[in-house]
Symmetry: C2
Subunit: 338 residues, 2 copies
């Protein structure tokens, strides 16, 4: 089943079930007006929504055209956005670029930060920033939306609580990061609103690409129409989503509708840090990573962060080349021009 | 106007307007079923709720008994909980206890962390922890709930967006903090669910004690029935709420219903770190601070963190001795016994 939220005059938009090919959708206000409402009562709403999805495929369900640009993030606002950093290759590059070691514990204890969730950008909304000098960057990631997870849940319990899978652009302001992390309390101003893919899908929709905790398909990240990265989200993911969700639930329960992210998708290439897509490599899911590789190899970064007018696109396709989640496609714009 | 949320079978409870003396309340489902719904449309809902509050005081409004123990946190779940650390005395003690300097920037740039907001404890709910060895501690704080705040808002704009004031117990797991902060991404497991006071009040309700950005009254914190701290929340607050909210909104808008906290209320005493309440001093709003003073003065901490069975109470009284927000009163219990 594929779900989306259409923008309307309300803060939470309205839930629709979307056809597998992303061309049609059905309103489901009689089941749940919003995605959060469906997640709040998934045991009842989930099966009813699934029947609508079946009807959409067989043609028995009345439908309207679905346009990705009408979609808000599936949860336009959420009660929790907890973002992991599960691809240790990314962490290793961050550290190597500044000449530091990766602590041994990083291979057994997931990194995770609490993100802001009071308002997400729509998948086609601009990325608004007051200043290019903030070092605007995308981070292409996979995320899951969970049902209620009890405090102290096992990885197995955590995996079984995963209801939906989607993509994220975890927008980051790189030049604000060092000073902010030096203060010791983690990210705040350096992580403005994230954007999510137009469509969130149930794990069964992913077939063999979903192994219960990892999504084994390339994440396609492009910048101004050119491929920037195509790292496989199932490769080099040190901690799977079961582990990440269990980490988040160690000392407190997670409420239904909590979103847990993978961190920037990042692959090694031939055991090394990889090569830019422009040089025939797998590339990267964020500019910072390409800059770190440049720093390691050439002593200084070369690729600039995003400028006003730049457009980022993040998408994932199934084995037959069809878009699974629709595309995140965002242009960077200065504050006051939206 | 005073607002509370009564627990019911739903995740968000139901909004009531509470009489100034906290003895009676009126259901206001015809205006807004939940506090978040009221905040989503405050321009319309706020004045209508205020008329109910007037009717409660004059006796023209039908009312039922209000019992603090029936209340959930005013927002049982929220889209944002951003907690500052505005009392630099607290930060100075943290640093001094470990022999470190306070960076100069800390006096001009607020510390703030993104907290989890998917589920708050009710004001009389137990604090559940799997292990006493986590170093369970309370943090008595003041917080505000804001309306929509645009990205880049000035301190003045931020101040004018404050809709409600309330108290917090920002439960902290002290022994999980060092390893977590060393990872660089801030708090996560070390900050489980917080609890808020039974009642949230509009700033006008606070009279002269509210100066637009600070609440000038002692925060009464007790442990197992004995006074632990009575630090004045208006004293030594380096950054007022306008500054904290503007800091949070620097790179992104804040959505209505976002909660911004002050950090542990902490006063100097005669220019120094103060004395325990048991020794006749102003005392502290968290155990960690008393332990830091013990470490500075005696080389090692003496006061233990919370044990199962311990009860914490956090309250604030007006000049005539009446409770303003009702009391947070929580007993620590092991996982599985709730």
């Amino acid at each position: 089943m594929k779900l989306a939220t259409l923008k309307d005059s309300t803060r939470d938009g309205r839930l629709v079930v979307v056809s597998r090919d992303l061309t049609r959708c059905s309103e489901v206000g009689h089941i749940a007006r919003t995605l959060q409402a469906a997640l709040d009562d998934w045991a009842h709403a989930g099966p009813r929504l699934a029947r609508v999805a079946e009807g959409l495929e067989t043609g028995s369900q009345p439908a309207i055209r679905f346009h990705e640009h009408d979609a808000a993030s599936p949860l336009p606002r959420a009660y929790q956005w907890a973002d992991g950093s599960a691809y240790i290759n990314h962490v290793e590059l961050v550290r190597r670029a500044r000449g530091a070691e990766v602590p041994e514990s990083f291979y057994t204890d997931p990194l995770m930060y609490q993100g802001g969730s009071d308002g997400f950008l729509g998948p086609r909304d601009p990325i608004i920033a007051a200043d290019e000098a903030w070092g605007i960057d995308m981070e292409g990631e996979v995320a899951v939306i969970v049902d209620d997870v009890p405090m102290g849940a096992s990885e197995e319990e955590a995996r079984s609580a995963i209801r939906l899978v989607l993509l994220v652009n975890d927008v980051s302001l790189r030049n604000l990061v060092p000073a902010e992390l030096a203060k010791g309390f983690g990210f705040f101003q350096s992580k403005p609103a994230s954007a999510f893919s137009p469509v969130a899908v149930t794990p069964d929709e992913l077939g063999e690409a979903w192994d219960g905790g990892r999504l084994h398909l390339p994440l396609l990240v492009s910048l101004n129409g050119k491929t920037f990265g195509r790292a496989d989200a199932g490769t080099d993911m040190t901690f799977d989503f079961g582990r990440l969700v269990a980490h988040a639930a160690k000392t407190r329960p997670l409420a239904a509708g909590s979103i847990v992210g993978s961190g920037t998708v990042s692959n090694r290439e031939n055991g090394g840090p990889g090569r830019p897509a422009a040089a025939g490599g797998i590339g990267y899911s964020c500019i910072a990573e390409q800059r770190m590789v440049e720093t390691i190899e050439m002593g200084a970064p070369n690729t600039p962060f995003l400028a006003f007018g730049d457009t980022v696109r993040i998408e994932m396709k199934d084995k037959t080349g069809h878009s699974i989640f629709g595309a995140i496609e965002q242009t960077v714009k200065p504050l006051g021009t939206a």
